[in-house]
């Protein structure tokens, strides 16, 4: 089998990339999806709030996905469902398996990685205690409730205030269960402000900041958890320990891009984002392999995923038409003080059309701060931000001419910083 573009994953990133590549004139496209339906995690996100930027209306997750699925169908783009990619090689051969075809090798001119992310489990945050039934990640619980039609518990404590956790707090409440508390380690929520308001405040669910679960109790089923406040070093203050009886603990403690396949192709990962290192074209260090969506960096809005997918698809199309310039002047992108990471991590000046969109997250909550972009000591952009929080991604456009130094040659590196006034 041979395709121009093989896209791995039929979530919002993969679907968006497929549609864009088709609209840019490529016909020989294959989407490979391990689940039995396209749409990815959007299919279990039956709440609204999707598409405000992309479609200027409020859609549910399945509705947002459907807009793209319809186009994929209309365009007749090939999609293999129930198919698991086992391996990708650096020369762009994809090995996949399914029930109909067995193990197959698919040759691609370009590959777009769109495998999404997974949730951090209990072990990753080392909560001590027993190991009974009744501990779920928020996404798994969401799948049970929204897709399978079952409740994972009645009296619930949620650890972590990531968006899925917040949304599940509301969902459980609407289903007649009691959410006793949302417990957050950090002094701020890692979810969107609108979700704190709409999912917790509106239902009177307490959010305990600077708290964590220090023990899980129960032999067969969760019987309760002990929570405590934490100090500045995130160490529990034992004198504040409090027992909450519950039958379920939901974990919403972070997402990790799923890059096992990327590694098999020799793709270098950013230790902070967990996603591939990419350039302005969303191309990884392996030529012709591009990445977009949550496999690249965990997004908080699906609309931004779609944008990123378009860019990756555009670049892939350019790549197979030999229009992507490899040689050229490279600009390193650095995260300075107050910024946790910036994507893309490098820029090839020759490939910039008119601007580069940078995604980043701050390290902390800041009010009335500036995001500044510097090249050496020279400030090239300064943008006022009312409120910065790690739960909300920052997008900064840098116009092409800003990458030029005084002598009109591209700068060697640029740095993004938070400037507190």
């Amino acid at each position: 089998m041979e395709y121009d573009i093989v896209i791995i994953g039929a979530g919002p990133a993969g679907l968006g990339a497929a549609v864009e590549a088709y609209e840019k004139g490529v016909r020989n496209i294959l989407i490979i999806e391990r689940d039995s339906y396209p749409g990815g995690i959007l299919q279990q996100c039956i709440h609204n709030g999707f598409g405000l930027i992309e479609f200027k209306e409020e859609l549910s997750g399945p509705e947002y996905a459907e807009r793209f699925i319809e186009k994929v169908r209309k365009y007749g783009i090939n999609m293999m469902l129930n198919t698991m990619v086992l391996n990708i090689s650096s020369d762009k051969i994809v090995k996949a398996v399914n029930q109909e075809n067995g193990v197959m090798e698919i040759k691609a001119k370009a590959i777009i990685l769109a495998m999404g992310c997974r949730e951090r489990p209990r072990g990753a945050i080392s909560i001590p205690g027993t190991r009974p039934a009744g501990i779920f990640t928020a996404g798994t619980a969401q799948r049970y409730v929204n897709m399978e039609g079952y409740m994972p518990g009645k009296e619930i404590v949620i650890l972590g205030s990531g968006d899925i956790g917040l949304i599940m707090a509301r969902r459980f409440t609407l289903e007649g269960a009691t959410v006793k508390a949302v417990v957050e380690l950090m002094p701020y929520s890692s979810g969107l402000t609108r979700n704190i308001v709409q999912c917790l405040d509106d239902f009177g669910i307490p959010l305990l900041l600077s708290h964590t679960v220090i023990e899980i109790r129960g032999k067969e089923r969760v019987e309760g958890v002990t929570i405590a406040q934490v100090d500045e070093n995130k160490k529990p203050i034992l004198s504040t320990a409090k027992y909450i009886s519950c039958d379920t603990l939901i974990l919403s403690v972070g997402l990790i891009p799923e890059n096992e396949l990327s590694k098999s192709a020799g793709i270098m990962l950013d230790p902070v984002t967990g996603g591939p290192l990419v350039n302005e074209s969303m191309e990884t260090n392996v030529e012709g392999i591009f990445a977009c969506g949550n496999v690249l960096q965990v997004h908080d809005l699906v609309d931004n995923v779609t944008k990123e997918a378009r860019l990756a698809a555009d670049s892939a199309v350019k790549y197979i038409n030999k229009m992507l310039i490899k040689e050229g002047r490279h600009i390193d992108v650095k995260a300075g003080s107050g910024i946790r990471y910036v994507v893309p991590q490098m820029v090839n000046y020759e490939n910039i059309d008119d601007k580069v969109k940078f995604h980043m997250r701050p390290t902390d909550v800041y009010k009335n701060a500036y995001i500044t972009v510097k090249s050496g000591d020279k400030q090239i952009i300064r943008k006022k931000m009312q409120r910065l929080t790690p739960g909300e991604m920052i997008l900064i456009d840098v116009p092409k001419d800003k990458f030029l130094s005084d002598d009109l040659s591209p700068v060697g590196e640029i740095t993004f910083e938070v400037e507190v006034v």
Binding site: N82, E100, G123, T140, G149, Y150, E175, R221, P236
Partner: protein, 493 residues
């Protein structure tokens, strides 16, 4: 009426069951949990085949450890259980500790351990390039190995069942009476009758013994906390790296697992409640700190799960295994099987066979005993040609359920349908590793639950994590709402 009733489905009970299945006798194994290797020490331990230099010469521990270790090659081949003889090091990080190495070396020689030597720091570094530079010397035992402990127990049980041993689960023994040479074993639901009883109840062997014997003993639980790290960290150890032992045990180890993860632990702490099997901040910190003494480089943030194992320490003198016919004729104790109990288990089973013979049980060898377990298909280990042939025959092997460990639906169905098959999410996990990877079942557990529900013809609400009341789901969607609405109506609001 059974010839032999074995109480306890851990590694000891299952080894004995498999050993007795060679003979033309009627054998029953009673287990209080819903699966073999699911309650106590056989599920949660260091997963190591000890070479045998640790136990005091002349003890049962010494004899059975060395004999048991030798038996694993053939057993693992017959039972299709992955095992690797990776060797072990007892690492000395000071001159004082080197002295202890010589003591262990002498013991090893006396115990008949083959292939042991004391090697220099340079040689250790060659074998373990990631061991800390402070290494002075090590005792190297080539016969030590690593294995999947519950995988071995499950294989023993399957093979025993295949050869006619009966298994009952979820039956806790509440009393044992003896009258006219017949034992009546009462559980919460039923009564079983047997001529001989083998007490292999692990942590609860004292309770079982004390039901019939005037000569009482007690088993003290000693817990150890462990961490399992992502396969990315697996490269840090090639052998089992012990430290010089203390009174409380063999110290904290750093070891590869047979599946390629890195295992660190255990701590060692006497506890007073046998069910107190939880991990603690203190314990986990201790395990990490202790392991760093051997290998500094591992990243504890790559932990995928942690667990606690409990060892059964007997209160009798000599600190040896308690194996033999008790004062009550026909009642055989196999108790206090702490480390190196796992390694010793096949030899213990042989010994129990002899004891039963001596006690008058007529043991005639079967002519149709099949020592081989039906091989397990592990998709992950097949070549692409083998995979394609398999998928053509059975498409369920073309559907990946567990993404992290590449486990197919075919493997899960097989695990459920085999003799002594999986009945719970954890049962599936222990048999095929679905849910054991880095996402710990986040993606696959709803799928596994669906397959279990279909294969066992059970309502999804009745599917458990590990039997008992460990149900995964609690209600159908909307049920809580409907119920509270009904209550509102009743109260006339």
């Amino acid at each position: 009426m059974y010839d032999v009733i074995i109480i306890g489905g851990g590694v000891v009970g299952s080894s004995i069951a498999r050993e007795l299945s060679k003979y033309d006798i009627k054998v029953l194994l009673i287990e209080k949990e819903d699966d073999v290797a699911s309650g106590g020490a056989s599920k949660a331990n260091s997963a190591i085949l000890h070479a045998g230099y640790d136990p005091v010469p002349g003890t049962l521990k010494a004899k059975l450890n060395v004999r048991g270790n030798e038996m694993f090659d053939e057993l693992c081949k017959d039972l299709d259980v992955p095992m690797k003889r990776v060797g072990s090091l007892v690492a000395a990080f000071s001159q004082d500790e080197v002295e202890s190495l010589y003591k262990l070396y002498d013991r090893g020689l006396k115990n008949g351990v083959k292939n042991i030597s004391i090697i220099s720091a340079d040689m250790v570094k060659e074998i373990e390039p990631n061991i800390n530079d402070t290494i002075v010397a090590a005792l190297y035992a080539k016969t030590a190995g690593i294995i999947c402990p519950y995988g071995f127990v499950i294989a023993l049980a399957e093979n025993a069942a295949q050869n006619g041993v009966e298994f009952v689960f979820n039956q806790e023994v509440i009393s044992i009476d003896k009258e006219d040479d017949v034992f009546t074993v009462k559980t919460q639901d039923k009564e079983y009758f047997g001529k001989y009883i083998v007490n292999a109840a692990g942590l609860y062997a004292d309770v079982i013994n004390n039901m019939v014997n005037d000569k009482r003993f007690s088993i003290h639980p000693r817990k150890g906390e462990y961490l399992i790290l992502d396969k990315e960290e697996g490269y840090l150890a090639n052998t089992v790296i012990f430290q010089v032992p203390t009174k409380m045990g063999k110290g904290i180890l750093v070891s590869p697992t047979v599946d390629g993860n890195l295992l660190i632990g255990p701590t060692s702490e006497d506890i007073y409640n046998k069910e107190f099997r939880k991990t603690t901040y203190k314990g986990l910190e201790k395990a990490i700190k202790g392991a760093k003494k051997s290998v500094e480089k591992f990243n504890e943030r790559k932990t995928i799960t942690q667990f606690t194992g409990v060892r059964a320490v007997p209160d009798v003198d000599g600190e040896d295994f308690i194996i033999g016919e008790s004062d009550v004729k026909g009642f055989i104790n196999v108790a206090g099987i702490e480390s190196p109990g796992f390694t010793s288990s096949p030899a213990i089973a042989e010994m129990v066979g002899e004891i039963l013979k001596d006690a008058g049980l007529n043991m005639v060898e079967k002519d149709n005993f099949n020592p081989k377990r039906k091989p397990v298909i592990r998709f992950n280990e097949l070549t692409d040609e083998e995979r394609n042939e398999l998928i053509k025959k059975n498409p369920a092997y073309g559907k990946i359920i567990c993404r992290c460990e590449t486990v197919t639906e075919g493997e899960i169905i097989d695990a459920i349908r085999r003799p002594v098959g999986a009945k719970s999410i954890d049962g599936v996990k222990r048999r095929v590793r679905a849910g054991m990877g880095r996402c710990q079942g986040g993606f696959c557990s709803p799928r596994v639950l669906e397959i279990l529900s279909r294969e066992l013809n059970a309502d999804p609400l009745n599917v458990t994590k590990f039997g008992g009341r460990s149900n995964v789901l609690t209600a159908k969607a909307k049920e809580y709402l409907i119920n509270s609405y009904k209550e509102l109506l009743k109260s006339g609001v």
